[in-house]
Amino acid sequence: MAVKKLPIAKAINESLRTALENDPKVLVMGEDVGKLGGVFRVTDGLQKDFGEERVIDTPLAESGIVGTAIGLALRGYRPVVEIQFDGFVFPAYDQIVTQLAKMHARALGKVKVPVVIRIPYGGGIGAVEHHSESPEALFAHVAGLKVVSPSNASDAYWMLQQAIQSDDPVIYFEPKRRYWDKSEVDTEAVPGALHRAVVAREGADLTLAAYGPMVKVCMEAAAAAEEEGKSLEVVDLRSISPMDFDTVQRSVEKTRRLVVVHEAPVFLGSGAELAARITERCFYHLEAPVLRVGGYHAPYPPARLEDEYLPGLDRVLDAVDRSLAY
């Protein structure tokens, strides 16, 4: 049966399995991805079925993981790299931004480096430091990378398929606190384009734009607002680089108001770009400035404070009210 109800983590697992089956060049690499199946069990069972040559436990060195993945890609492989947590991608940052992002251009297109980097990201799981961050803007600012983040199991499955098939490097941010949220996946569907946003809920009064873990919060906010008679449209951006400004623009031309929500700090977060861009495109349509709801300009706080730090229903609705008050 092609349609299954799966949690996001399992959808990613199935997507990796499909990719390993379909293309002998696909490799899965990272710390503890083998016998352990990763700390979130996302790669569970893959090494058992595909062997140590294809599902590779690596030394504990993120720069080495990404750097060797680049070499493997140059040799014709399609490595799918796992970074164990968001906060541990930075040792690999140099390889990602100076090598992975630029090699295709450096070679005037004569080499391709189809590396996918999977990063469980975001907070809300009560973890210790470095395990709850949302660094997507730090990658999206860098040309040569593509950055995506699914919000549901179907997108998790399909966007990973597409990321692996892409000849470009893709940073695939997994909303770790939604790993166990279930939804339907049709593994025989024809997926939409990887970098297109979708209207996840239609509405008339204001547009909420989000991606990854915040889509759920926005859907809940829209449901709550409906009870108060406000009709909110929710756009699931899905892709952060490129960002589908067209879809947001269409929505905002209709609703005339936009609130962007992400966990990452607001200052220079991806909402800044969306706000600037949509303001430029919809200057005469906007009834209110684009408002942003996100993390504060502070290190991700200890777990006991994360509920206050993370954008939740109330803060989103507060911004909605402020926008509607213009």
Binding site: E31, R304, L305, E308
Partner: protein, 420 residues
């Protein structure tokens, strides 16, 4: 009562002029004629898994002073570093290990009960941590990973301080300066560079303080650790790199990090590396003293690989049954660091049952105190999000703090929930 080199070796040491002196003469302790009264010295038993091999210093590969059965074996190179250790001090080491283990077990329990979010247990590594921790002097500086609860104990850090970050009320938060024990560092390997820089500074200051950096077998693969070796060697920094090779980096065995014993890594950077039996507290004390004294004398860095075993899970979130066999653990239980010293104390010293009974009570009291302190540990106030982001302030933080306060105030009808 406890072995603290501020009291023993280092006392002699302090009489010496600072660093860069007397490079030829090894140490005052070396000349000590006092020998353990009942310590039968015979040739060391080796772990079967490692063939005897010469270290760069000509020592046999695994330095061991106490066998798993608690027999004292002679080691011409390192005996001198512990010859002056009294029975009382040995009991002190034993107590340190027992208290560390008891504290650790309590933390595991507290995690199970939901009082902590996570806990990385030191179970099995008590000797490596207590032996090395007790080798440090008060003015030395320690850069731990996230598992050095036993070292923290030796440094005099109140163990309940270690729990805040695992409870989620802070990200460390104790004052590193009050015990010269830096905050736990979670990003693997980073702290080895901080230690090296700190040591460079200590040398610049003309002190003979030394620095010790802890890291794991997994961490040995990180570029930062390699760079710290380079900096330490080039600047001849007074730092000891103390690698607890507990044979696992979460689910990965050491073979995923290296194909030769880790202590050998040092040689290629131009400083000595030694492998010590990490379950032998006496050997760990001796080797770390030796390494720290090298640092004090201006002889630069040393790598100590303490060969030990992580007897528990990586953390309370981990499930080791997925990747390693139970019998592996069983074989290491036979090498338990606490049992081994207990056997020695019981057979070779006049330690009586009263000591062990008292210690039991003392450790139970520690467990109780830890439990109580944790349960009473207040959540931080919401505004703590904005505190200490900067030392000198930052306009955006001020703005966001004010907005946040106003937003919170808008729920004024609801309870404030400000914790502290």
């Amino acid at each position: 009562m406890t072995v603290d080199s501020a009291d023993s070796t280092a006392a002699a040491q302090q009489a010496q002029p600072p660093r860069k002196r007397a490079a030829a003469k090894k140490t005052a302790a070396k000349k000590a004629t006092h020998t353990k009264k009942a310590a039968a010295k015979k040739s060391p038993k080796r772990s079967p898994e490692t063939a005897p091999r010469e270290t760069p210093q000509g020592q046999s590969e695994l330095v061991q002073l106490l066998t798993p059965e608690g027999e004292r074996v002679a080691n011409p190179e390192f005996d001198a570093y512990v010859d002056a250790v009294t029975d009382d001090e040995l009991r002190g080491l034993y107590r340190d290990m027992v208290m560390s283990r008891r504290f650790d077990a309590e933390a595991v329990t507290l995690q199970r009960q939901g009082e902590l979010g996570l806990w990385p247990s030191l179970l099995g590594q008590e000797a490596a941590q207590v032996g090395s921790g007790r080798a440090t002097r008060r003015d030395d500086y320690v850069f731990p990973t996230y598992r050095e609860h036993g070292v923290a104990w030796c440094r005099g850090v109140d163990p309940t301080n270690l729990l805040g970050m695992f409870r989620g009320v802070n990200n460390g938060g104790w004052d590193p300066g009050s015990n010269n024990f830096h905050l736990y560092t979670i990003v693997i390997g980073s702290q080895t560079l901080h230690a090296t820089g700190y040591a460079m500074g200590a040398a610049k200051d003309g002190t003979d303080s030394a620095v010790i950096a802890y890291f794991g077998d997994g961490a040995s693969s990180q570029g930062d650790v390699a760079e710290s070796f380079t900096f330490a060697a080039v600047y001849n920094a007074p730092v000891v790199f103390f690698c607890q090779n507990n044979q696992w980096a979460i689910s990965e065995p050491t073979e995923r990090q290296t194909r030769v014993p880790l202590y050998q890594r040092a040689q290629g950077y131009g400083f000595p590396g030694v492998r010590v039996d990490g379950n032998d507290v006496l050997a760990c004390l001796a080797v770390t003293r030796w390494a720290l004294e090298r640092a004090r004398r201006g002889e630069g860095p040393t790598l100590v690989e303490a060969f030990t075993y992580r007897m528990g899970a990586h953390t309370t979130s981990d499930d080791p049954t997925r990747y390693r066999a139970d019998d592996e653990r069983a074989s290491w239980e036979a090498k338990d660091p606490i049992e081994r010293l207990r056997a020695y104390l019981a057979s070779q010293t006049d330690t009586d049952e009263g000591f062990f009974a008292e210690l039991d009570a003392e450790s139970e009291a520690l467990g109780k105190r830890v439990r109580e302190v944790v349960r009473a540990m207040p959540d931080p106030g919401h505004m703590a999000i904005f505190e200490n982001v900067y030392a000198d302030g930052h306009a955006l933080v001020d703005e966001e703090r004010a907005q946040f306060a106003a937003y919170q105030a808008s729920f004024a009808d609801e309870p404030a929930g400000e914790g502290v």
